[in-house]
């Protein structure tokens, strides 16, 4: 096993990885940009090293600098977390070339799965269901004609894409050429790769993904599925495990297909195979994420497996320490992504300073965060502040405990989606498990914040004034001659 691991990340995931390293008695090294000096992950690691760059994000993408810090601090491996360099094949290569271990898959697997067209073809070749699709040949007319044969609606996607960038739904043949062009230029801008393709768009699809672990020698196991159908603009906001009301036979097929893909790719370490599940029960390969997922805690909660520990063991050459028979699930877990954004105003990003943080505590609650009171929330990084993960004996209990936990969670000083998430989880269709990726758009009106009643509004106004020192001076300091002058005027 490793003796010291550098965590090439920040925020909640750096804290998450540091926790497992600590539990296993492995020393940890963290990195931070000066903008992040007060972040919790700086204190969560054994030693923290400042990294520099023109922007905080650029510093976290500076592979050379990060590897240098790892060497200088005597680390023997690098954990990339998610985002930043986690799915960068060149980084994985450079880490290995420097004599350190990369805690993740091999560079060729990252490269294969990072290309949507290549990975789709690979999946198809190995018997994993894929949606009918058409690849552009450079001849836009031929592309439109071929796409029309699949039928509309179609989904245009960037081959190098992710996070919804370069993606759009095309409902009519007349829109295809223009939308493909727009997607291509967006893909060129974000990923420096303008290749796009079109595939059948499944209406009201569910997003089901399977956690896999591979040993790199064709051995692979799954840790069952997660459902991530609650999305906004292709970004997940609520995830759960197991999937809601999934037919057990279908679950076996989907998990089996994921293992088949991982095994065929001689996949090493943790990965996630994502599928689209159509209302008719058909499922299609979407993509494989070659890293630890944001939503991995829901799987940990129902399986009792520490996925970061498994990642470390595999990367250290111990192979798979679990067999498929060892993996069983109990209960249900739901994760909510707490973001600095304004749900009442188009989900625009919010900035501010964390003034107070009150977190509900229970064995069944994980609040994954890298927050400290006083910390500034800026647009330097992703708007996700934390994840609230709640376990229950079954889905109903997990949902009701999640709503309670969201109501008990106090994070003041920056606008967040906490109240919005509580409305999502409490929605009758969520409760019924009637999920699809258009859920939040379909229910937008019911999910909007209701008006508070008149008394609550008046009470809030009074409470705001009672929190204002100038107002208190007006109330308390005059006009009686014996009124105290008080310490306010200093």
């Amino acid at each position: 096993m490793f003796t010291k691991v550098l965590i090439a990340n920040r925020g909640e995931i750096a804290c998450r990885v540091a926790a497992t390293l600590g539990r296993l008695g492995i020393a940890s090294v963290g990195i931070f940009h000066s903008a992040d000096r007060r972040s919790a992950h700086v204190g969560a690691v054994g030693e923290a090293v400042e990294i520099t760059g023109p922007t905080p994000v650029a510093a976290h993408l500076d592979a050379e600098q990060i590897i240098r810090v790892a060497k200088e601090t005597g680390a023997d491996a690098i954990h990339p977390g998610y985002g930043f360099l986690s799915e960068n094949a060149k980084f994985a290569e450079a880490v290995e070339a420097s004599g350190l271990a990369f805690i993740g898959p091999k560079p060729d697997a990252i490269r294969l799965m990072g290309d949507k067209i290549e990975s789709r073809n690979f999946a198809e070749k190995h018997g994993v269901p894929v949606a009918p699709s058409v690849l552009p040949t450079g001849d836009i007319d031929a592309f439109v004609a071929e796409a029309a044969k699949i039928g509309f609606p179609l989904l245009v996607k960037a081959s190098a894409g992710g996070g919804g960038k370069g993606m759009s739904i095309v409902r009519e043949a007349s829109e295809l050429a223009e939308k493909a062009k727009t997607a291509s230029s967006e893909a060129e801008r974000y990923f420096a790769d303008g290749r796009v393709y079109a595939e059948r768009y499944v209406e009201r699809p569910r997003h089901i993904e399977v956690q896999v672990l591979g040993d790199g020698k064709g051995g692979a196991i799954h840790l069952f599925e997660r459902e991530c159908s609650i999305q906004r603009r292709f970004q997940k906001i609520v995830e759960e495990a197991p999937a809601a009301n999934l037919d057990p036979a279908r679950r076996d097929e989907i998990c089996g297909a994921a293992v088949q893909l991982a095994a065929a790719a001689n996949y090493t370490n943790a990965g996630t195979v994502e599928f689209i599940l159509a209302p008719d029960g058909a499922f299609y390969f979407l993509e494989m994420n070659t890293r630890l997922q944001v939503e991995h805690p829901v799987t940990e909660m129902i399986t009792g497996v520490d996925l970061v520990e498994q990642q470390l063991r595999i990367a250290a050459g111990e192979g798979l320490s679990l067999s498929q028979q060892d993996i069983a699930t109990t209960g249900h877990a739901i994760e909510c992504r707490i973001c600095a954004e304004d749900p009442e105003n188009g989900f625009l990003p919010e900035t501010g300073r964390i003034l107070s943080l009150g977190v509900p505590e229970a064995d069944t609650i994980r609040f994954e965060n890298g927050l400290t009171v006083g910390q500034a929330v800026t647009t330097d990084f992703d708007p996700m502040l934390a994840k609230l993960v709640v376990y229950g004996g079954d889905r109903e209990q997990a949902a009701s405990a999640t709503v309670d936990a969201l109501r008990d969670l106090t994070l003041l000083g920056v606008g967040t989606n906490i109240d919005y998430l509580a409305r999502v989880i409490a929605h009758p269709d969520f409760e019924a498990g009637a999920l699809h990726t258009g859920f939040v758009e379909e229910h937008a009106a019911e999910l909007a914040a209701g008006e508070p009643d008149a008394e609550t509004r008046l009470a809030a106004i009074a409470a705001a004034l009672l929190s204002d020192p100038d107002f208190l001076i007006q109330v308390d300091d005059s006009p009686e001659p014996y009124a105290s002058i008080g310490g306010w005027r200093n």
Binding site: G352, P383, L412, T416, T456, I461, A463, S467, V475
Partner: protein
């Protein structure tokens, strides 16, 4: 002078009617008694006409954050009564950034005539692109940012002037 207070974007006017024996406020014309039950450890407790309320509260300058027992968050801004009185209403001549970010593209240059709703510049924040439009017909008088520049929330990024006939 009445207090002006913004609560979740809506303006409210509050006047102190009586301080003792009990605090009486007139909020938007409605008279209410406010009993202070405590303000400790970030919790403000009060009774409004006898009805009890607890709020988690935190203050950052003029902005006060509140969260009630039902998990509803409020953001209040208690305005300096003097500054509020000096507001000249020039807002429509300015284009302000709705969020912090950076300038991606200047679409219309100073001196160009624009119609209400025309995109003047494109900004990016957290990987999200947004077009900022002219709030009314006019001529771009001044751009206060250029491509790549960063700005904070509510920063003035451009100014308009009337079209000369």
């Amino acid at each position: 002078m009445p207090y002006q207070l913004m609560l979740d974007g809506e303006r409210h006017s509050v006047e102190i009617i009586a301080r003792r024996p009990e605090l009486v406020l007139e909020i938007d014309g409605r008279r209410v008694s406010v009993e202070r039950l405590g303000a400790d450890g970030g919790v403000v407790s009060l009774a409004l006409d006898g009805l009890p309320f607890d709020f988690d509260a935190a203050r950052d300058g003029e902005t006060i954050w509140l969260r009630d027992g039902d998990g509803r968050t409020f953001r209040a801004l208690v305005e300096d009564p003097i500054a509020a009185a000096q507001d000249t209403g020039a807002a429509a001549d300015e284009i302000r950034a709705p969020m912090p970010g950076s300038v991606i593209e200047i679409v219309r240059q100073p001196g160009e005539t624009v119609k209400r709703g025309d995109t003047v510049l494109t900004i990016e924040s957290m990987k999200l692109q947004t077009n900022l439009a002219a709030p009314r017909d006019g001529v771009i008088a001044e751009l206060l940012t250029g491509p790549g520049d960063t700005f904070g929330k509510d920063a003035v990024v451009a100014r308009l002037e009337p079209v000369e006939e």
